[in-house]
């Protein structure tokens, strides 16, 4: 393999960044588990459905929006279904496809959980950075997503928010 090793400047940035990538999900998980009996992934699934028309998405679309394999997503949605937060049914326009829809209880759950989650996002990320750094982080993340998510499954999500 002809890969050159990282320079010390590159390595210094990388070890810090990967530290954040490892630690942040645990912090988001802990708060949501404690206050809403949800993992961050559960919350993300519910919040994606809450923003979709009729609170409904195809399972395949939900998988790509949540960066999950269909197997992982099915497992999580089954758990949320048992709790009465989501329901699955065959897509009326394509019987081979399955849709997931947020129930009323699921929508209430997202609404009730959002403030505590936003509080955590503020504490650990938004308020920890200057406004300029947060803008930089958005631009940097955009560049990384072009590599990580070349099919751009998330473009539709991002268009809903103001452009950077």
């Amino acid at each position: 393999m002809d890969t050159p090793w990282l320079t010390s400047e590159q390595l210094a940035a990388w070890v810090r960044f990967i530290g954040v990538v490892e630690l942040l999900p645990g912090v988001l998980d802990s708060q949501l588990r404690r206050d809403a009996q949800l993992t961050h992934f559960d919350y993300y699934v519910l919040s994606q459905l809450s923003e979709a028309p009729e609170h409904t998405l195809r399972m395949t679309a939900l998988a790509s929006r949540t960066a999950a394999t269909l197997a992982r997503l099915s497992h999580v949605v089954q758990r949320l279904e048992t709790r009465g937060l989501v329901e699955r049914f065959p897509c009326p326009r394509d019987r081979r496809a399955t849709n997931a829809r947020l129930t009323d209880a699921g929508f209430d759950k997202v609404r009730a959980s959002a403030p505590g989650h936003v509080d955590t996002v503020r504490e650990y990320v938004v308020d920890a950075l200057t406004p300029e750094q947060l803008t930089q982080l958005g631009v940097i993340s955009d560049a990384l997503l072009r590599k990580l998510d070349p099919g751009n499954d998330r473009a539709e999500i991002y268009r809903r928010y103001d452009p950077l």
Copy 2:
């Protein structure tokens, strides 16, 4: 809860950043699983040991360096032990504590796996950003780690690399 909602600029940066945080571990995992039969977490555990004196760390120190609970780490180390990459033994200076040591096979594994991993880090992160953006990402990550890791368990790791 008195948390104000995020502004549209803050939300735009957050949804992109959390997209990266969700997608990046899967990309690192896929390459290492395919080429080295390791998860990224396995690799991170092995690489931390490979950089420690005598390739040995207390399990508690290894847990804090890898941002894992002791229960999760024990599970992973047990798996690596079965594969002959790590061995555990009582700490000679404190019999109640357990040490983990990289075996020779474990060290060979890290050395053999590193180039492919670095190649992935280059492709998806380092080479996807300008040098200025990578520096910004290091400074931003430092600020986030002060929140995410206030005990600063990782300070010793970071001091080994050039200062930002």
